[in-house]
């Protein structure tokens, strides 16, 4: 009898898209993301959730004056940490000015594919890392333990180039965080973890740092692996108590040359744009995009 009533209740419940999404409180701006090179990248990964590539100018490069103004705002707001991403951040001609001025006021993480990190770039980063009062972390993306696994996703020849970039960093005193998107589902399990550790150990990374990221089914990834379904929407009551502290968007904002967004994932969603200024965006948000479900269900945070 109980089971029948449950089924009746379910049948009477509106579909997820017809229910109100949950509202996530904003706990304060701890983390500021800057999309320094917009959607411009030197490669075009098949799983990229914002379809970055050499010809995608959807979000252009950020100007130095814009970045400086944001750093001033962030200082006043008491931001705790900074992230640079793109696209590929090291395509930006002013990237080292951005890095130096950001590191002067807080810890910085840079998300890169590593391909442009040669000896000179790594040496400069290593010197900044050694001299500064705050942490400089490099996150290098790698999506397989061999060219056969990685290159179909990130591009021909990228496996060796990515590892070479990481090795340059290590040579200059920076142990990067290897970031693996689990397009290959087995990458993130215990065996996959062990395989990544093994190939990194062969190259001198005896204390490897690894971060696994679930694919977000938007952008180019939607075409590769399929998109979200109607059931992938959060509704009121889905969030657990205090989830604003676990979800990145409870304490971060992303700024691109085109405006402010709640998180790094949704910059190609026009409805997600929150305004021109950081001050416009320090408010609670509705988790009304299906990608929000990935962070909620996977317990995922873009933080390092």
């Amino acid at each position: 009898m109980t089971r029948s009533l449950d089924l009746l209740e379910l049948a009477a419940r509106p579909a997820p898209g017809q229910q109100a999404p949950p509202t996530l409180p904003f706990v304060g701006l701890d983390t500021l993301w800057l999309q320094v090179t917009g959607t411009v990248c030197n490669i075009a990964c098949t799983h990229c959730f914002i379809t970055c590539g050499p010809k995608n100018l959807s979000h252009p490069f950020m100007e130095l004056a814009h970045v400086r103004a944001l750093l001033a705002d962030a200082r006043d707001l008491g931001v705790k940490e900074y992230y640079f991403t793109g696209g590929e951040p090291f395509l930006h001609p002013d990237i080292f000015t951005f890095i130096e001025e950001t590191l002067a006021q807080g810890p910085l993480n840079i998300l890169t594919n590593g391909i442009l990190i040669d000896d000179a770039v790594a040496a400069r980063l290593g010197a900044l890392f050694a001299a500064g009062p705050y942490t400089l972390d490099l996150r290098v993306s790698l999506d397989g333990t061999s060219p056969k696994e990685n290159d179909p996703i990130r591009g021909k020849g990228t496996f060796d180039k990515i590892l070479a970039g990481g090795e340059q960093l290590l040579k200059h005193g920076i142990n990067p965080v290897w970031t693996v998107t689990t397009v290959l589902a087995e990458s993130g399990d215990a065996e996959g973890f062990a395989r990544f550790k093994a190939i990194l150990a062969e190259r001198g990374f005896d204390r490897p740092r690894l971060k696994f990221i679930p694919p977000f089914k938007i952008g180019r990834e939607e075409r590769r692996g399929g998109g979200y379904g109607e059931h992938d929407l959060l509704v009121e009551g889905d969030l657990f108590e205090g989830e604003e502290h676990a979800l990145q968007c409870g304490s971060c904002r992303m700024v691109t040359a085109k405006g402010v967004y709640p998180c790094p994932i949704l910059i190609e969603v026009p409805a997600a744009r929150m305004g021109d200024q950081l001050a416009d965006a320090l408010i609670p948000i509705k988790l009304d995009h299906p990608a929000c479900t990935t962070c909620h269900v996977e317990g995922f945070s873009c933080r390092t």
Binding site: G28, G78, V79, K80, G106, T135, H245
Partner: protein
């Protein structure tokens, strides 16, 4: 309160009752009139029931850390907030042991501890928290806690100086334009600071009397210099301080005395003025 001139602040006992006794003796010897513990009484050490009686008998004002909340409320894990699965693996072994070997009266005592302390000291508003004033298990490391963020915490929580312990690694950062204000992580007394030495760290906050130290003008008031830290103590006992889980036993050797009491240092004291007194 106006008679209070020196207080000691420590955290992270981690079941190391020997280190606790050594630190308390040292703090009293240094003239600490009041002693605060910022939590995490349990964990790692082999005798979970030996530290609570010492804290009670010696009138240590103790607040609740994440470990104390977990043990006191009989939770499944320590709520340490680690992100590395290896850290969680070893922490769980230690937590299960501590939970099983802590008596019910001690669990109840840990459960009922306050979540923080506020006090006026040397004309400043002090706030003691475990991880941070906003989260019991927030990690505040020196390299990831920038000055603008400290300003925000001081502003949001109406304080001049915040003291925390959760990471177990000591450091402090003062505001460039107001050296009497800032944040100090007092470190931990139950385990060394992972620096290859056997010392443990705690903070001594001293309200300097200008008549005692003519070279100690306060940047904010003519009557008191900012509270300062820190002290280093090494257990006098023949037993070794506990080492990190899975690590080798710590050496008994202590380095020679390498510093002096900060109470007579000139103020304002820059960050590099954190100094140590070795009592071994």
């Amino acid at each position: 309160m106006s008679d209070l001139e020196r207080i000691a602040v420590f955290g992270g006992v981690y079941n190391n009752h020997l280190s606790l006794q050594a630190v308390l003796a040292d703090a009293r010897q240094q003239g600490a009139q009041r002693i605060y513990c910022l939590g995490d009484v349990g964990g790692f050490g082999p005798h979970p029931d030996r530290s609570v009686p010492i804290l009670i008998e010696q009138d240590v004002l103790t607040m609740q850390g994440n470990y104390d909340d977990s043990i006191g409320n009989r939770l499944d894990d320590c709520q340490c907030g680690y992100t590395d699965p290896r850290d969680n693996h070893f922490a769980q072994i230690s937590y299960n042991y501590t939970l099983a070997h802590t008596s019910d009266p001690h669990k109840d005592w840990l459960r009922d501890l306050p979540a923080g302390f506020r006090l006026e000291f040397a004309g400043q508003r002090l706030l003691f928290a475990h991880g941070s004033p906003r989260r019991v298990n927030e990690f505040l490391w020196e390299s990831t806690t920038p000055e603008p963020f400290i300003r925000r915490l001081l502003r949001d929580f109406d304080a001049d100086l915040i003291a925390v312990t959760h990471t177990g690694i000591h450091w402090q950062r003062r505001l460039a334009d107001a050296p009497g204000r800032g944040l100090v992580n007092v470190g931990a007394i139950g385990r060394p600071a992972n620096d290859g030495r056997t010392d443990v760290w705690y903070a001594l906050l001293t309200a300097s009397d200008p008549s005692r130290s003519s070279s100690a003008p306060s940047p904010t008031t003519t009557h008191a210099s900012p509270p300062r830290c820190a002290r280093r103590a090494c257990p006098r006992s023949s037993s070794r301080p506990s080492s990190p889980a899975g690590g080798p036993p710590a050496s008994r050797s202590c380095p020679p005395a390498s510093g002096h009491d900060l109470a007579t240092d000139p103020a304002p004291a820059p960050l590099s003025d954190i100094r140590a007194l070795n009592v071994c």
